[in-house]
């Protein structure tokens, strides 16, 4: 149910442009940073992967904007801003990897909206203090960890590792934020997913 603008090339057109594009396996190697050849997804799955990866890019765009809005809100202590900017850097890293993958698959990465649009969508106007900002960030990070984990079965196997890595990053952010907010450590295992 996501709004994603993209060109969905057929598998044939991607392979046909062999001089310009890489195989799905090669893209997975780029995204995953792995040295072994990855297993290629089947025909018809490429366009689906582009679509799903673009949804993940949209998610990262929103996360980047959320940290930008928070950092400039005047509601955060300098030390918290520093942590937020670091987390934002992680999200930019995710976006860059995902955009690279979409381009290599022949798709067009979805563009970011304006910060004003994100601010409205996230109801930023209701945030009154640092705790409000941290709770928003925690909700987004926790949701993102779950989103990546829930996305894995739908992605081609080439992208499972990178999605899991991104879920790990989001879970790390959520743990830091939860700790800062004094949330108790979950008692049960399998906290996400």
């Amino acid at each position: 149910m996501s709004d994603i603008k993209l060109a969905m090339p057929s598998r044939r057109s991607i392979i046909g442009g062999a001089g310009k594009t890489l195989s799905v396996a090669a893209v997975a190697m780029i995204v995953g940073g792995c040295s072994k050849a990855a297993t290629s997804t089947g025909d018809g799955d490429t366009a689906q992967d582009v679509s799903l990866l673009n949804a993940a890019i949209a998610l990262e765009h929103e996360g980047i904007a959320a940290y930008q809005i928070a950092a400039t809100s005047g509601l955060l202590q300098p030390a918290v801003v520093e942590i937020g900017v670091t987390f934002q850097g992680h999200h930019k890293g995710h976006r860059d990897e995902l955009e690279k993958a979409v381009k290599q698959l022949g798709g067009e990465p979805v563009a970011a909206k304006t910060d004003a649009e994100y601010a409205e969508a996230l109801n930023v106007g209701s945030l009154k203090n640092q705790e409000d900002v941290l709770r928003l960030a925690l909700g987004l990070e926790r949701g993102a960890a779950n989103a990546y984990l829930g996305l894995i079965p739908s992605l081609g196997t080439d992208f499972h590792l990178v999605a899991a890595q991104m879920a790990g990053d989001e879970a790390f952010h959520a743990a830091i934020l939860g700790n800062a907010l004094g949330e108790p450590i979950p008692k049960s295992a399998l906290i996400f997913g």
């Binding site: 149910m1 996501s2 709004d3 994603i4 689906q48 949209a58 949701g143 993102a144 079965p153």
Partner: protein, 155 residues
């Protein structure tokens, strides 16, 4: 032989009796009391009839699950990575104003109900190839709780 059988039956009976006694002892243990307000929480629950109580629990659980499972991309009243969800029950798929859907969703000629939402959340790309939503919710009880919550914000 007969005496052995009798002995075995006696042991089994003793074990069963022990289990029942332990079970009863556990059930009669006092509930933990919230030290801040001295409440076990049962006083509030007792105010509601059983059915209403179950519905309230389900809605609360559904809201919490919705936030955790769907909240990265969706919210009730705002279009984000995904479209807003208020009023989703009975709404035609791909029809929220101001949201740009994938072609696959726009062409999906259904109205959302419990059955197709369950199918959608189980495996969206299998139901609608080409959709941008890949998130799968594997646990049937979580799907049920979230669908009930979505229904509660659609009435």
């Amino acid at each position: 032989m007969g005496s052995r059988l009798g002995l075995a039956l006696a042991i089994i009976a003793a074990i069963i009796t022990f289990i029942f006694i332990q079970s009863d002892a556990n059930e009669s243990k006092p509930l933990p009391v919230d030290e801040k307000n001295g409440s076990t929480g049962l006083e509030q629950v007792a105010l509601f009839p059983p059915l209403a109580r179950a519905a309230t629990r389900s809605a609360l659980s559904g809201k919490k699950l919705y936030t955790r499972r769907c909240g990265a991309c969706h919210s009730i009243d705002q279009n984000r990575v995904g479209p807003r969800h208020r009023g989703v029950f009975g709404r035609k798929a791909g029809s929220v104003s101001g949201f740009r859907y994938s072609k696959a969703l726009k062409n999906l000629n259904i109205r959302w109900n419990e059955k197709n939402l369950d199918r959608w959340l189980t495996n969206p790309t299998a139901m609608v190839p080409g959709t941008s939503m890949g998130f799968r919710l594997n646990k049937p009880d979580e799907r049920r709780a979230i669908i009930n919550y979505l229904k509660s914000v659609s009435d």
